[in-house]
Every structure is written in C-alpha cells, then in structure tokens.
C-alpha cells in the first residue's frame, strides 16, 4: 500500500484529501498510479488530463511520471504552487 494525498483545488475537485492505494504489481511508477486514477471516472480523468497542470511529490520531494514507487511511499498531487 501507498498513501495518496491531494491538495488545494485538486482536493476540492476530487473531493478527496487522502486515500490508501494498492500499489500495482511490477515496477510501478507515478505514471502507473496516474493511469489507474484516470480510469476511475470523468472527474478523475479530467483532473489528470494530459493538458492539465498538476504537480506530484513522492515522500515530500518533487517527482514526475517516471519516479518509481515502493510500498509505504507518500505520493501527493497538487496544482502549481502559489505561496509567497
């Protein structure tokens, strides 16, 4: 299992702040997980549509679709940051 976290507009759009997620078999990456999320329903496929700007962090470090995942990882999805 891994943890998926959602922040800001992404959290509101998906109506989900956090969920446990079964790590797909093989050599899973962020891309593998995103593919599964996209296949859930229209809300999810739209949120992670290719043209849409979102960011991902693995274990609190910026990551990308190719980043490999292992059990226990914390994967966070969020829109581009706007602090400061």
């Amino acid at each position: 299992m891994i943890s998926l976290l959602y922040f800001a507009s992404l959290r509101e759009r998906l109506d989900c702040a956090r969920e446990d997620f079964a790590l797909p078999p093989g050599t899973p990456t962020v891309g593998t997980v995103v593919d599964r999320l996209r296949s859930r329903d229209g809300r999810w496929s739209e949120a992670f549509a290719p043209g849409r700007a979102w960011r991902v962090a693995v274990n609190q470090r910026m990551a990308d679709l190719a980043t490999p995942l292992k059990p226990g990882d914390e994967v966070a999805f969020f829109p581009p940051v706007t602090g400061g």
């Binding site: 922040f7 470090r61 581009p80 940051v81 706007t82 602090g83 400061g84």
Partner: protein
C-alpha cells in the same frame, strides 16, 4: 544553518532581522523581503485570503531552497517564515531574511529564495472576492523569475 518556520501567527520583521545580527560582529549586510496580501489581484477586489500548505513537505522544501542558496553565495545565515491559514489585505504572508558579509550576496540570495519559494514550496492561495472564492492561478512570470537562476552563471548579467 537556515531557520525555517511555517505558522498561522503574525511575525515581526524587526525581530527576525535582529536575530540574524544578534551577538555577531561579522555580519555586514542583511537583505530582507516581506510579502503582503494585496486588496487587488488580477483585477478583482480581495477581501480575504486563505493559505493552505503541505505540512512536512513545506519545511523540507524551504530548507532545501536555503541549502541551495548557501551553496551559491557566501552567506552567514538565513530565515524564512511563511504564514498559513486566513489572512487579510495588509497582512504579511512571508519573510525571507539573509545575512552575509557583503550586500551583493545577501541581495542575490534573498531574491533567489523568494523566486524558488514561489515555484517550489507547496503553498496554495485561495482568495475571497465579490464574485466568490477562487484558487489563485500560478503565474508564468514566477516561473520566468525562477528560471533566471538556472543556467551557467547566477542569473545576472
């Protein structure tokens, strides 16, 4: 060496600057930036602002940005304080203060930290305007400001 804080409470800029110089005799320059909530953003009147963040990652991201600055310039110390939660126009959101022997290093590092914070630290702003609430969109000008610092030199001519 950097001091990083994320907090709901207001901060005092004078106290943060003083902490960088207190008891030291080798600090020649302190460059400081304070960011505040404006009542106008992208043409809409803002009555309130709420700052969300990613606890844990925020502190780590800020510490990494400071470490990168320390590797690029000759710095003595750094402080970053970022507020979260509800804020109003006129409230301070963020403070970045950098001490160094010389002003060039302090100025460059302070601006660098702000530019990177704006594009790398996981904070998100939600504005309350007359037409309702809206999440602030990231600005391409912030990406461009951060991109200045990559490449061969330190981003300056």
């Amino acid at each position: 060496m950097a001091h990083v804080r994320v907090q709901a409470e207001p901060f005092e800029a004078g106290r943060e600057i003083a902490a960088l110089a207190e008891g030291r005799r080798d600090v020649g320059a302190v460059a400081t930036f304070v960011g505040l909530v404006r009542d106008l953003n992208e043409g809409a009147e803002v009555s309130r602002m709420t700052l969300e963040h990613y606890p844990g990652m925020t502190e780590r991201a800020l510490e990494e940005i400071c470490a990168e600055a320390a590797g690029r310039w000759d710095l003595i110390d750094m402080r970053v304080v970022h507020r979260v939660g509800p804020l109003e126009p006129g409230d301070a959101i963020v403070l970045v203060a950098v001490s160094s022997a010389h002003r060039g290093d302090a100025f460059a590092a302070c601006e660098f930290i702000m530019d990177y914070l704006k594009t790398r630290a996981p904070f998100w702003k939600k504005e309350s305007t007359l037409s309702g609430e809206r999440w602030v969109e990231a600005r391409s000008s912030d990406d461009e400001a951060a991109a200045r610092w990559s490449g061969a030199g330190n981003g300056r001519s």
